[in-house]
């Protein structure tokens, strides 16, 4: 489990704006994500969680510090190179699912495969397999508008897993779901992360997620101020 990290941040700082109006969102973050590890990132609003997620997901370049992917520094990578890296190594799960409303469930998953140049003939089979893996194999023909919140999030997770990325980043995946469905969704993500050897980072306000994490990080004012094992019993909501 403690192999070389898939993703590593060293002294990452991120500043928005310049001069007097500059805002420091991240103030020297050191962090490593390992395969088969579920990391929960907690922090109050404005603590820099989303900025950290964007830097880890190769959407933003840090102002200072370095990001290492599979041990290789991403310093100097162009935006288009970062885009290709996102495609090759990352899967994303968003708070509001961000499914394509005009595509059926299986087509939403297949789009992620299409981005990776999969052959047309193989895409449907793989998309259906992934949906079945998430327990919604029979819903492939439905449009997102015909699915419940939990079902939509499962489709989104299947899409994130398409192409077998090694790093999964989930932004508040349970925020739009009720407690029971939210727990079930995180449980599925945890299982798949362990089975497929992914590093899973979940950004959440939801304390019920902690029971599924292998590690809990606290971000406060742009700094990681705690890195601890999860509590045995989930705290009361």
């Amino acid at each position: 489990m403690k192999d070389a990290p898939l993703l590593r941040l060293e002294g990452v700082r991120l500043t928005y704006g310049h001069g007097a109006t500059a805002v420091e969102a991240l103030r020297g973050v050191d962090l490593a994500l390992h395969a088969q590890q579920v990391t929960l990132l907690l922090g109050p609003s404005g603590s820099g969680k989303t900025s950290l997620l964007q830097v880890m997901g190769c959407m933003l370049r840090p102002t200072h510090g370095e990001v290492f992917l599979h041990g290789r520094s991403l310093a100097g990578a162009s935006l288009e190179e970062l885009t290709r890296l996102r495609l090759a190594h990352f899967g994303f799960v968003f708070q509001h699912y961000n499914l394509f409303p005009t595509l059926k469930a299986w087509e939403n998953v297949a789009i992620a495969l299409d981005l990776r140049h999969w052959a047309r003939a193989k895409m449907r089979g793989e998309a259906t397999r992934l949906l079945a893996e998430l327990g919604i194999g029979e819903l492939g023909e439905r449009f997102p508008g015909e699915l419940s919140g939990g079902q939509k999030q499962r489709v989104a997770i299947a899409r994130a897993l398409a192409g077998e990325p090694r790093i999964l980043l989930a932004d508040e995946p349970t925020a739009a779901l009720d407690g029971k469905v939210g727990r079930e969704v995180v449980r599925v993500m945890q299982r798949l992360a362990h089975e497929q050897g992914c590093a899973l980072l979940i950004v959440s306000h939801d304390p019920r997620v902690e029971e599924f994490a292998d590690r809990v990080l606290h971000l406060e004012d742009g700094r990681l101020d705690r890195d601890r094992p999860p509590a045995r019993e989930p705290p009361c909501a």
């Binding site: 989303t50 997620l53 964007q54 997901g57 959407m59 933003l60 992917l69 599979h70 290789r72 288009e80 885009t83 290709r84 890296l85 996102r86 495609l87 090759a88 190594h89 990352f90 994303f92 968003f94 961000n98 394509f100 409303p101 005009t102 595509l103 087509e107 297949a110 789009i111 992620a112 299409d114 981005l115 990776r116 140049h117 999969w118 052959a119 047309r120 895409m123 899409r159 932004d171």
Partner: protein, 387 residues
Amino acid sequence: MRLWRGSGDLLHPGTTLLAWRNLSHERTRFIATLVGIAFSVVLMGAQLGLLIGFAQTASTLVEHADADLWVLPLGTSNSDIAGRIPIRRRYEALAVPGVASVDEYMVQFAFWRKPDGGSESVIVTGYSLASGRGGPWAMVEGTRADLQIDDGVIIDRLYQDKLGVHGLGQVVEINNQRVRVVGFTDGIRTFTQSPYIFTTHARAQRLARFSPEETTYLLVKLAKGADIDVVRRDLAARLPWVEVLPSGEFARRTQSYWLITTGAGAALLLAAALGLLVGTVIVGQTLYASTLDRLAEYATLRAMGADRSYLNRVIVKQAALSAVIGYAIGLAVTLAMVAYTRTGNVAMALPPWSLLLLAVLTLLMCLAGALISIRRITRLDPTLVFQ
């Protein structure tokens, strides 16, 4: 270790699916786009069809005369309006090596007096019955040989009512001289709206009040194997006060005279350009509105690792699909208009090359409309998905 790889389906069928679904799921907007494109295609097609139709009509005499070279009076700007050349030039032309035959050909404006009163301007066209060169085509009633009847003339059915002619054998007057209608053609239009009246060369000379020693053109047919440029040069050198032109060049000169100097062509081209502009604006506006509505989806794709070309493909395919369907609808309407004008005085003509041109213009129009959307997408920030 490579940090990224690419293989498999480079065509990205997913972009076609997304493009089609984006269009078809916004039915009202899609219909508005298609109506705009179809309207534009009809407008462009109609103007182009009229332009080609006018051009073909303007030079119809030249193109149907079956001559290799035309000998015309110096300064002739088009086939309908010509000065005079002496008939003896025909014999001089026959002496030029490479010339197989030379026929006199008369084209002259005249006044047609209708049987029930009133008059019309017509163009009397006189040709050699012996060679048949320059004679009427598309005969539907009577024959060319009927022109041997005294005072015989052949007119086109399209202008029958205009000239007050009810049937064969009707007697009318041209320049106060009696003529008899002995045949009808169908579909020989005139750009000037002065109908062509076909008759023998000698009768045309009389009707136009030319002396027997004068004509308007000489139609030259080359001997087999003769070099047209050499014969043309020799004819020009030997015949004074005339110009010698190949048929194609004279046809183009006639077309450009009627279409450019009269401004008719410019007006048609302007209207076609307006159609192109209207279509571009409609496609651009609807596509951009659709793109703005779907910015979050495009940002999601960007976050998932789609490069700019992937997003551009979705937009371009939306434009191309709209173009294909809009073109098909517009073309159907335009071809119906072309069919309808076949029986009228003003005919639209859309040969296959013009349909291809129209298709290319439609596609370019839609792609131009897509440019604003592409520009917007190019600047899209993937972090938008977190907002």
